[in-house]
Symmetry: C2
Subunit: 513 residues, 2 copies
């Protein structure tokens, strides 16, 4: 068999079931191998930014490595932004990238680029296969690397002649490393801090945001008065009625600084130290105040759930703590768009066990706390700040969880980056309701500009305003085969959203703000 | 003034008039500086792939460096594919990229990425400014680097604190290097080869494809019987009635090998040795046969026009050679789409002095030779093989040449990569007629697959077929404010194209194939 077939067969036996792809000529042998095998589900994205964003959403919800197949050099480059987002979410991802044949590359044909350099800039693990006979074991190593806790980006580059060469067969899957457990002294150290009664915040991320992690953290908070917080953008979080309501660190630096003021301790549980998204003149990088000690309970790759449960037991917290309701009651609001009222409306109508993919930027900030009392659901977000994450991520999540409704909350400016994902939703008949917040500006940039004390002028109006002409999202969606409707009030949104949730398949609601 | 203002002022005095941009928070100070100055025209692209593609088209037609302003890390990465295309066209381009403040970067905030590594992968010149007082001179150096013959990619990275810091003022423009002249012995050597009467091909690229270069090459060909050829994809070429008809090296390797068979000499004039776009088992990388000597008349950065004129004089070619007509007569054809018939129809209707931006991939291959006798025009193409070049390149060309009609020939698959550029055409009211060849497949990949002897299976049908559902380009264009019509025959195309050329502003014709 060809190196290509040995590679694809290895991925199949390693548990990879879906191939998100936009291949080119350098990946042709891999497509031929996929044709022969017929066991892998192939899903086309009409740009690599869609392909990698889909893979991110898929892996977060499937809980196992996602695979992409993309073209050399510029092809991979097109997908980097959403690989960056995946990297920041610790998403396990295997990228298979073709490249010029080894003997052809020295001639520097037009599409030749620094594929390995580009891959290295966003990957934890990069390898270029050099022998057809070893492509299979390289693929097994890539899956193993991707699955290494807490999840890594593994990029395997396969030159044309390496995949068309002769190989003996697939490689066996390599063992997956378990999450390391935390040390006893670390748990005891955290317990001592919590017993001190000094103001303490526990900052949760990654695995700690699953239902069991949050429940254990809640026991600790209940017993000690510690505050629980998640990161500004959550990779995946279990939420809704009956689950622990934990808010996030605010995006706006001044608000975040206020939140942390007075705390003496921050305990990191799968989280990194809290830092501002960007720097501002005269403002600190770290959100925790001077004199506040930062402690570590669990590193991102460690077993944060076991650590939290151990810590809860260590401090003698009760096993079961009834969860107190927080946040507003789900209610269908009326009138024009308002972020909080939208959230309450969404909470009232969200289907049980939905997946909310939130790339709503400014329009979505108040939606998170307003949905604490929605039916149980998972919340996933762009964690790397690269815009264009929502549509593809929702698409991939819907592939991973065909029995759950996916609701994509998408800012219009960010949505334009990867609107091609709507076509993939239509092609695959995915069960996604896309809500586009059409405020027709890069509102976040106007906010940042005004925060500097400057007044918008001609340049910023040109570069931040998305009107003149206004986008017609209904037309764009229909042009890609997705049914769509524009709404201008919360009550019309409610009716439309309810109807969209009552059917299967993709549907887009443009909320004209 | 701020470092940002000193940077923008330096670009202005260096002759930069247009800023193609999609900035973020790390570029805010630069936007504030643009607001203050009001002398630079800002043009928004709704994704960085659009921004860099516009800059490429602009610089090719304006004949001077184009500027982009894009966001750190993933923002720049989104634009890499079209920077790659620009690099392969020797387009002069200055990319200004913001980045995390120097003091903030060690905290590794979410959007932090290897901006410099990404920039280096596609740029000839990369610098990260480290002092506000030196940003201006860094900007002057970037413009100088970009303008260095034959044109380079210069990327200047400016951390947030560097641009908000205090600077004394703009820097003076740095001198532009002239194109080096070729040596006398090189010209004499080429003359000797041409006098040998052995079969010789002159391969022209870059500056040699301008009207004067082609005219000088034609004198040589007329006097010696040498064959003239351009590259498979031309960065910019002067064409049409009264100009020298020069065809390109075919894309398909077997056809290219046939063309070169029997040649004893290839003389490179601003061109690189002819190599296949991709490698294939058992096929050579170099298109010139064994025993064919490859000579150099002018390197890409040298003055190819002067070299050709000198060589023509050296061999005693007549000063003026009447140009013999080649190729078919422009005629309005009828019936369903056919690449050659389309080309003849286009040739019959193309406005005088138009710019044809050809990203039509398979649908466009026969259009080039069929338009030799169109009215005089320029032809520009994606030279790097990264798809998604047409719409943005046409957009930038129209900005550079507001008095010329731009005709964009766009394959549908490639067009989906950067369809957002249509919005920029609408926003800027650019005079572009976009023709989308809606064949609803990645036809080139089906061709490559069949050429291996394989039969398409389920995977390739999923990954190469763009139907199920079909895209509606009319809806997509209108959704971004561009008027559009679908045609299904050459005669309807002719009527629609004539009407579209008779008015100003963007218009899209979807040719349903």
């Amino acid at each position: 068999m060809t190196g290509a077939e040995s590679l694809i067969r290895t991925l199949v036996v390693s548990g990879v079931e879906v191939c998100f792809a936009n291949p080119g000529t350098t990946e042709l042998q891999l497509v031929i191998a996929l044709d022969r095998l017929e066991t892998m589900r192939c899903i086309l994205g009409m740009a690599e930014s869609v392909v990698t964003g889909c893979a991110d959403g898929y892996a977060r919800m499937a809980g196992k490595p996602a695979m992409t197949l993309v073209h050399c050099g510029p092809g991979f480059a097109n997908g980097i932004a959403n690989v960056h987002n995946a990297r920041r979410a610790n998403t396990p991802m295997v990228n298979i990238v073709g490249d010029q044949a080894t003997f052809h590359r020295p001639f520097d044909p037009p599409l030749t680029a620094d594929t390995e350099g580009l891959a290295r800039s966003v990957s934890h693990w990069v390898r270029t296969s050099s022998l057809a006979s070893q492509v299979a074991s390289d693929a097994a190593a890539a899956v193993q690397a991707a699955a290494s806790p807490p999840g890594q980006i593994a990029t395997l580059i396969v030159p044309g002649d390496v995949v068309w060469g002769e190989a003996s067969g697939p490689a066996l899957p390599l063992p997956m490393a378990p999450r390391p457990q935390v040390e006893q002294e670390v748990v005891r150290g955290a317990a001592n801090i919590l017993r001190s009664s000094e103001p303490t915040m526990m900052l949760l991320n990654g695995q700690a945001l699953c239902e069991a992690g949050l429940a254990a953290a809640y026991r600790i908070a209940h017993a000690t008065g510690a505050m629980l917080r998640g990161p500004t953008h959550v990779p995946r979080m279990a939420r809704g009625r009956g689950r622990v309501p934990v808010d996030r660190i605010p995006y706006v630096v001044d608000t975040a600084l206020q939140l942390f003021a007075g705390f003496k301790h921050v305990i990191l549980v799968g989280a990194k130290p809290p830092v501002g998204f960007f720097a501002y003149p005269g403002k600190p990088s770290l959100m925790a105040p001077e004199g506040c000690a930062i402690h570590l309970l669990a590193r991102p790759e460690q077993d944060a759930v076991a650590a939290l449960q151990w810590l809860a037991d260590e401090i003698g917290a009760p096993r079961i703590v009834p969860i107190e309701e927080e946040g507003p009651k789900p209610t269908i609001a009326s009138g024009p768009f308002d972020s909080e009222a939208f959230g309450m409306t969404l909470a009232a109508l969200l289907p049980e066990n939905a997946i909310v993919c939130d790339d709503a930027v400014t329009s979505g900030r108040a939606v998170f706390p307003a949905t604490f009392n929605a039916p149980p659901h998972d919340w996933i977000q762009s964690t790397g700040g690269a815009i264009g994450h929502g549509f593809p991520c929702a698409t991939g999540a819907a592939v991973a969880c065909p029995d759950r409704k996916v609701v994509c909350l998408q800012a219009d400016g960010a949505g334009m980056y990867t609107l091609q994902a709507l076509w993939t939703q239509a092609r695959e008949k995915l069960d996604v309701v896309d809500v586009v917040f059409a405020n027709r500006v890069y509102k976040i940039l106007y906010g940042e500009l005004r925060a500097t004390g400057a007044t918008p002028g001609r340049a910023s109006d040109t570069l931040f305003d998305l009107g003149r002409p206004d986008l017609d999202w209904v037309g764009l969606a229909r042009g890609m085969g997705v049914e769509a409707v524009r709404v201008e009030s919360l009550e019309t949104f409610a009716d439309t959203f309810r109807a969209a949730c009552g059917r299967r398949g993709p549907f887009l609601i443009e909320f004209w703000i």
